[in-house]
């Protein structure tokens, strides 16, 4: 059991190692010749206009919020599905109630236009 998780840890270290190795390798052999014009942000060969740090649509935040809520719902479905064979009909009814309550929420958001983009 420990060995299984150990391989995952080794895998993470291997991944980080590969990235660091290639970064180092390319740092050693690539040319390095920066000047201000080259280091400007890309904006279709024009001088960059204004700040790139702008306020963006609040919609993104709403979607993130809805995502968190339904992610929690999804995470409840996994154990339910795994033990479903032993829990049976009773669990199905419980889960239908759970899903219906949340689906009502989705429907509410839908009707109120929170899922609309423009």
């Amino acid at each position: 059991m420990v060995a299984e998780y150990l391989s995952v840890l080794v895998f993470i270290f291997a991944g980080i190692g590969i990235v660091l190795f290639t970064f180092l390798l390319s740092k050693l052999i690539r040319p390095h010749n920066p000047y201000p014009k080259k280091n400007a942000n890309y904006e279709c060969a024009e001088e960059p206009v204004g700040s790139s740090w702008f306020k963006f649509n609040n919609r993104f935040y709403i979607f993130a919020l809805i995502f968190v809520i339904f992610d929690v719902e999804a995470i409840f479905l996994f154990p339910w599905a795994v033990a479903f064979g032993e829990l049976g009909l009773y669990a199905l009814i419980e889960m239908i109630i759970f899903i219906l309550i949340l689906f009502f929420g989705l429907f509410y958001a839908w009707r109120k236009g929170a899922l609309k983009w423009v």
């Binding site: 995470i75 033990a83 929170a114």
Partner: protein, 189 residues
């Protein structure tokens, strides 16, 4: 020195230092990243206690969803770590905070030492956990029989959160109507 112990120490250190960095770093995005490191390390600790499902939930929900929400808020408010955070606290306030922190620490040590918590768990029980304790199936059986009502109430709680999100989005729409043309220019991302 067995392997379990080493993994425990490393992830505990990561969890604590991640949490500390989250408080002390000025750059908000780096603070979020260190909190993710802390959460993942905590997930490793859960897995070591054979609470596999809790570990997975910690990663999927906390570091995979809630932290994304935090990042969105940071980008939405356009925080860059250069904002004026106001005057630093006065020494008196700082010392009061320190004393409260100390009290909390002593309490925690006291609780652990006196074994107030029933069945204090040893490190590295992962291999020996009996009867699938902590496995997804066992958690599920408890969740859908003994703790059924809390589970169903969770859905009501989540519903409230959806309503909150929707109401918030409505308010934004109303205030944005006046300068819509301006917004459209900036906001088309």
């Amino acid at each position: 020195m067995n392997l379990d112990f080493i993994i425990f120490i490393v992830s505990a250190l990561l969890a604590v230092s991640g949490a500390t960095l989250m408080i002390t770093l000025k750059n908000p995005v780096l603070a979020v990243m260190s909190m993710i490191v802390s959460l993942v390390a905590q997930a490793v600790l859960y897995i070591q206690l054979s609470a596999l499902f809790l570990g997975a939930v910690l990663i999927i929900v906390y570091s995979g969803a809630i932290m994304v929400l935090f990042l969105f808020v940071i980008m939405l408010l356009n925080l860059r770590g250069t904002e004026d955070l106001g005057e630093p606290s006065s020494p008196i306030k700082l010392s009061i905070k320190f004393i409260f922190g100390l009290i909390l620490f002593v309490e925690t040590v006291f609780i652990i030492k006196t074994g107030f918590m029933p069945g204090t768990v040893e490190v590295g029980v992962m291999a020996e956990a009996a009867n699938g304790f902590g496995s997804v199936k066992e958690v599920s059986k408890l969740l859908f029989t003994k703790y059924l009502y809390p589970f169903e109430l969770t859905s009501v709680l989540l519903l409230a959160a959806i309503v909150g999100a929707v109401v918030m989005s409505k308010r934004d729409d109303d205030s944005e109507d006046e300068n819509k043309i301006e917004d459209n220019k900036e906001v088309q991302s």
